[in-house]
């Protein structure tokens, strides 16, 4: 950093000191990320595990806590629990760093124990959990604003989340563009939870609920 020189030949450190002239990206980096406003989503005890993780009960037994999946992840999305019963088990804190769905799933490949199911080869088939809008009255899009940040960031845009437009009776002339998650497509990567612009995310990945079958087709 000290050696790095900007276009004008001024060393970056000096720049920061003298005139605070560094553009924002660098200024933020120097300030250490600026993530103070972050609050985690309310997931009711659900812990997001890496892609391919087998069902929660068996996962804790199968995982040998080797941390190989965490090492394999290029985005450092996978962390290792540092306390409690599950100490050493890998998890994803989506609000901090979600899973970015690497096409070749290196985390799964790295797992020696079968805790991450080796049959998981297609990212679309991953089911880490399911995103839900947990506070409809809080969601800015449902309140009529043009937010939809979660939707535009979702790696499965238009499949896992779609926008359902409807008339906004409050203004009488605008559209509410409601983000709707579709559980049959959502992989639970947490990108939406990570991106949600509210202090406490109103879209949160939770346990995938069991689909209750009946005879209706629609």
């Amino acid at each position: 950093m000290t050696k790095e020189r900007d276009d004008s030949g001024i060393s970056r450190r000096r720049f920061l000191k003298e005139g605070a002239l560094a553009p924002f990206a660098l200024a933020l980096a120097a300030a250490g990320g600026g993530t103070v406003y972050l609050r985690p989503g309310e997931a009711h005890g659900f812990v997001l595990r890496p892609p391919g993780a087998i069902v929660a009960r068996r996962f804790l037994a199968a995982c040998v806590r080797c941390g190989k999946c965490a090492q394999a992840c290029p985005y450092h999305s996978i962390r290792l629990q540092d306390r409690g019963v599950g100490i050493g088990t890998p998890y994803i804190a989506a609000r901090h760093t979600p899973c970015y769905l690497c096409p070749d799933l290196p985390c799964v490949k790295a797992c020696p124990s079968g805790a991450l199911d080796q049959k998981t080869t297609e990212v679309e088939k991953v089911r880490m959990g399911t995103a839900q809008i947990v506070d409809r009255e809080g969601c800015l899009s449902i309140r009529g604003l043009r937010c939809e940040v979660c939707y535009r960031q979702c790696p499965l845009i238009d499949q896992a989340i779609t926008l359902e437009p409807r008339h906004n009776p409050r203004t009488g002339e605008h559209t509410i563009m409601e983000p709707v998650v579709h559980r049959e497509k959502c992989v639970g990567c947490g990108v939406c939870e990570n991106a949600c612009v509210l202090p406490k995310p109103v879209i949160v990945v939770r346990e995938t609920v069991e689909v209750q079958r009946d005879s209706y087709d629609f």
């Binding site: 900007d6 276009d7 004008s8 030949g9 001024i10 000096r14 720049f15 003298e18 005139g19 605070a20 002239l21 560094a22 553009p23 924002f24 990206a25 200024a27 933020l28 300030a31 600026g34 993530t35 406003y37 970015y100 769905l101 690497c102 096409p103 009255e137 800015l140 309140r143 009529g144 604003l145 043009r146 937010c147 939809e148 940040v149 535009r152 960031q153 790696p155 845009i157 238009d158 926008l163 437009p165 409807r166 008339h167 906004n168 009776p169 409050r170 203004t171 009488g172 002339e173 605008h174 559209t175 563009m177 990570n194 991106a195 612009v197």
Partner: protein
């Protein structure tokens, strides 16, 4: 009123119920004290050309909250996500708070006197040695009307050079030229009401869903309410707009020039035009052709009256004969049958057709021509100046219309549609400014691209940049950044944060922004919106008007600005207003704007606004019984121009096989200097990505989030690939956004520009794409 946010939501719900029952509820007026100590004031949004109204909540000298203004006619209480976080835009940790002067490689704190004296000394020296045309001022469509007006008066009436430009040269210049050469007056005849009242909307290269967020939500509501409404998206990239459109028509870059001509061909061939309208209102013209692309320095091209040939309708029809749908299919990629269908849409008497466009058309090496051709469709079919039936040129910046275009901060303009080349116009301006007419030079100044090239050539000695970030936003960026780095000119930058431009400056001046000062903006639909100062700027930061007037005093032009300290903004506006009265662009007295959520000009004698220009139904300047009258055009006749097809400046070839296109996205504003300091927006979209078509990506072995190197003849950058995300370019094209200051994507862009508007083409050049 004074509502907490929760009450506000409830109140809005209640308001909707009341509205349904026909009761109008009390609306927050300017600056009412609230229970929880927050004082609310009204202002237009700082960001885009939609022009939403917001309420700004101030407590303890700080903006603590903003909310959409329920009384704002554009947005009725809504905002997009940028507008939602307005309260944070001014409070980044690294606000500039003191003037800085370059001492070798260091920037050193200075007093205002030191900084302004230095600037004045440099300007005086340059003027003494090289004449007034060796200095320049580069401003913005985000300047307030007062800032633009003072800048124009200082440069044109004081210093005596027309080297004054706004960054709007990079976005609206093509639209402006076409308005002038078609209608004789800038800015639309229609307004946003057309989005509620029409039934057919053809989008030419406009990603409204992201670039005009709240307006798009209004357009879609019309579609939800009325099943007949049809939205046709013609573009080179599938976007969020496409997703909500009824039909997407893929078009090759530059193909619009061919497709529009072919649609006109069919309208003429099948007699879909409105014979009576054409006979009454239209004259046919042919301009200068075989135009250059501005790639050579100082390449001159002008369409003078001597170059214009008048045509009869028959001659025009004959000229349009070769532009068949079959021919256009080859050039534009739109199937001939689809072109025939579009012609029938435009010609359908039972349909109220609107065309909407922005940068896809304007940032185009034949942008004026494409604007002209869109107008031709409306003028031939008579679908214009009627509620719900108009061409609407959408604007990008909050006051590209109000300041850059209406005040006229371009190198050739004077306020209210006047130009420096016209003696009568100079006389009128000089009269209002109280100076001899000879003071205003008749010679057109340097347009934006030439201005920065002139730095490189060593001809321009001083340039002062306010409220914009050219060293990130200009095309062929390497050339201009290198010129600045080699200190070929004395560069002053006024801004609120460190940017890619301040880092190249000799003097950096800290500015006040938005509600830290008083101002007026003018939006896309001719709506003029005023706001008062609500908080102090941090540290020693001062507003741009103050900076310019203090500089003027040091240059010996202080007498041009005899405004009282209290009421200065009102006085400037009232002086500027004199230019507009009786011209069909009439503005209301300042006091009126202080009360309302904007008014659309021309404001009538009785103080009400005009929604549709040129029609007796609404425009006071048209007498009863005249129907539609294009009273600003010569002989009241608008021009239908014959504009042939000419190829783009640079096309993909074996070495550079892809088209490259740049644009905006919803989360960030322009070069990200403000939205980049809003942590939530920065997190939502933290870097520019490059979008590829999935098949192209597969062929090149590129997967989502891979690093990709994009190289053109001018520069090379590495971006993260985004495949199957918010946008998908057509095969053979890649797309990226320009907000990310770490990725100077404009190094890739060609500095070819439209020969008439001098607006660069940021939408197409040739690149190679490699996995990095």
């Amino acid at each position: 009123m004074g509502l907490s946010r929760r009450d506000f939501i409830k109140a809005c719900a209640a308001a909707a119920a009341f509205a349904a029952a026909g009761v109008t509820t009390a609306r927050p007026e300017w600056a009412e004290a609230a229970e929880d100590g927050i004082t609310w004031g009204k202002a237009p949004c700082r960001y885009c050309g939609v022009g939403c109204s917001v309420l700004v909540g101030v407590k303890g000298g700080r903006i603590v909250s903003t909310k959409g203004d329920p009384a704002g006619p554009v947005n009725k209480g809504l905002n997009c996500i940028k507008g939602y976080f307005l309260s944070k835009a001014l409070y980044g940790k690294d606000r500039l708070t003191t003037p800085l002067i370059r001492k070798g490689n260091r920037m050193v704190e200075a007093s205002w006197d030191e900084a302004l004296d230095l600037i004045a000394a440099q300007y005086k020296k340059a003027i003494a040695e090289h004449g007034p045309d060796s200095v320049a001022l580069y401003g913005s469509g985000q300047w307030t009307i007062q800032e633009g007006y003072v800048a124009s008066k200082l440069m044109k009436g004081g210093i005596g050079t027309n080297n004054l430009e706004p960054n709007a040269r990079l976005c609206m210049a093509s639209a402006v030229v076409a308005f002038m050469n078609t209608f004789g007056s800038d800015e639309p005849m229609g307004c946003y009401d057309d989005l509620d009242l029409g039934d057919t909307y053809v989008l030419w290269g406009a990603n409204m869903a992201e670039a005009h967020p709240v307006l798009f939500s209004r357009l879609i509501d019309n579609k939800l309410k009325h099943p007949k409404v049809k939205l046709i998206d013609i573009a080179t990239r599938r976007t969020r707009t496409t997703k909500m459109a009824d039909e997407f028509i893929a078009i090759k870059p530059h193909g619009d020039l061919a497709a529009l001509n072919a649609i006109i061909h069919v309208i003429l061939r099948d007699k879909l035009y409105d014979e009576a309208f054409v006979a009454k209102h239209v004259s046919f013209k042919r301009g200068k052709e075989n135009a250059p692309y501005g790639l050579k320095d100082k390449e001159a091209f002008n369409e003078t009256p001597a170059d214009v040939k008048n045509l009869t309708f028959e001659e025009y029809k004959a000229l349009m004969k070769p532009y068949t749908p079959q021919w256009a299919q080859k050039v534009s990629g739109i199937p001939a049958a689809k072109i025939e269908e579009l012609a029938r849409v435009y010609g359908d008497k039972s349909r109220k057709v609107n065309s909407l466009w922005t940068m896809g058309v304007n940032q185009h090496s034949r942008g004026v021509w494409v604007n002209n051709l869109i107008y031709n469709l409306h003028l031939l079919t008579g679908k214009i100046c009627k509620p719900g039936e108009n061409p609407l040129s959408l604007t990008g910046q909050p006051s590209a219309c109000g300041t850059a275009r209406e005040v006229g901060t371009f190198a050739h303009r004077l306020p209210a549609d006047m130009v420096v080349m016209n003696e009568a116009h100079r006389k009128k301006a000089a009269g209002i400014w109280g100076i001899p007419a000879e003071k205003i030079p008749a010679k057109v100044g340097l347009h934006t691209v030439e201005m920065f090239r002139a730095i490189d050539r060593g001809e321009l000695k001083c340039v002062w940049i306010q409220c914009t970030n050219p060293f990130q936003s200009l095309p062929n960026l390497n050339r201009v950044r290198k010129a600045a780095q080699s200190r070929k000119a004395f560069i002053v930058v006024s801004d609120i944060y460190p940017t890619r431009s301040t880092e190249l400056a000799d003097v950096v001046l800290p500015s006040a922004s938005w509600v830290e000062k008083e101002g007026v903006f003018g939006n896309t639909e001719r709506r003029t919106q005023q706001w008062f100062k609500m908080v102090n700027a941090p540290g020693k930061a001062r507003e741009d008007v103050w900076q310019l007037i203090e500089f003027a005093k040091r240059m010996g032009h202080g007498a041009l600005f005899p405004y009282p300290e209290k009421g200065m903004h009102r006085a400037i506006f009232e002086e500027y207003r004199k230019f507009t009265l009786g011209t069909g662009k009439d503005l209301a007295p300042y006091g009126v704007y202080a009360k309302v959520r904007g008014l659309r000009w021309p404001v009538k004698a009785n103080g009400t606004e005009t929604r549709w220009r040129y029609t007796e139904a609404d425009d006071e300047h048209v007498a009863k019984g005249e129907g539609i009258k294009f009273y600003k055009a010569p002989n009241n006749k608008v021009s239908v121009w014959f504009r042939p097809y000419e190829p783009p400046a640079e096309v993909p070839d074996r070495n550079y096989p892809f088209w490259f296109c740049t644009g905006r996205l919803l989360e960030h504003w322009h070069t990200g200097t403000m939205t980049g300091r809003v942590p939530e927006l920065r997190r939502a979209v933290s870097q520019a990505t490059v979008e590829l078509h999935p098949e192209d990506a597969k062929r090149l072995g590129i997967r989502n989030r891979d690093q990709v190197r994009i190289t053109s003849r001018r520069g090379s950058i590495v971006l993260t690939a985004e495949i199957g995300g918010r946008g998908t370019p057509e095969r053979g094209s890649v797309f990226t956004t320009f907000f990310d200051e770490k990725k100077l994507v404009n190094e890739i862009c060609i500095d070819a520009f439209d020969p008439l508007s001098k607006e660069p083409d940021f939408k197409k050049c040739a690149v190679k794409v490699q996995k990095a």
